[in-house]
Symmetry: C2
């Protein structure tokens, strides 16, 4: 598990970022390469936490990080998930219960990833 | 920050629990005192993670743990949150951006709570 994303409608994303930054007592840093993301620095232990401005309803979603997006996506589909869309290299899935998750390629530094990742048979 | 709650509609809660347990490779344990909760054991680092069966749409929400529910609620209201409802000793709030959070009394053992909690002026 890589990240907790707080998806906020675009018009409210700045207010949402200000709230979460103050509520959790952490700094908010724009993620320059992709301006829809604002990172909440060390908001949750061991997880990236960010506000994402979206053209959609408010939602919180979780990101699965993997060194094999297709295999991990196939694993989650076999567990009952459904593919919704693709965004860059990320697969967006709806999982049993109705929640949205993303499966994305390794973002963590490779050594940390190898040390912490689950290996699926 | 105490917990990540995966709120699933009642009819899908068992499927959601089975999915998350297998997807994260963790055991799912019913929380006997309140059967709507199923704990996903050590699913996320340093956070309680649970599936909650709800009579509502799917949602993921975050729980704020505090030794003073009224003061913490007042702090979050001052940051722009709105009170939605009360459930037992927990205050349910809608925060800027539209997400739901709960403010609940200390559940962690008191020593750990004191060591890890933020103190707000």
């Amino acid at each position: 598990m890589y990240a907790v994303l707080i998806d906020a409608p675009e018009a409210e994303a700045a207010r949402a970022t200000a709230f979460w930054s103050a509520a959790l007592g952490v700094t908010a840093e724009p993620f320059t390469p992709q301006p829809q993301f604002t990172t909440l620095h060390e908001a949750l232990p061991g997880l990236v936490t960010a506000v994402q401005a979206v053209d959609d309803a408010p939602r919180i979603h979780l990101d699965f990080e993997t060194d094999d997006v297709e295999a991990e996506t196939a694993r989650l589909l076999a567990l009952g998930a459904e593919r919704i869309s693709q965004w860059q290299e990320c697969q967006v899935l709806r999982v049993p219960g109705g929640h949205v998750v993303c499966v994305l390629p390794v973002e963590t530094d490779p050594e940390t990833f190898r040390a912490q990742a689950n290996v699926w048979p």
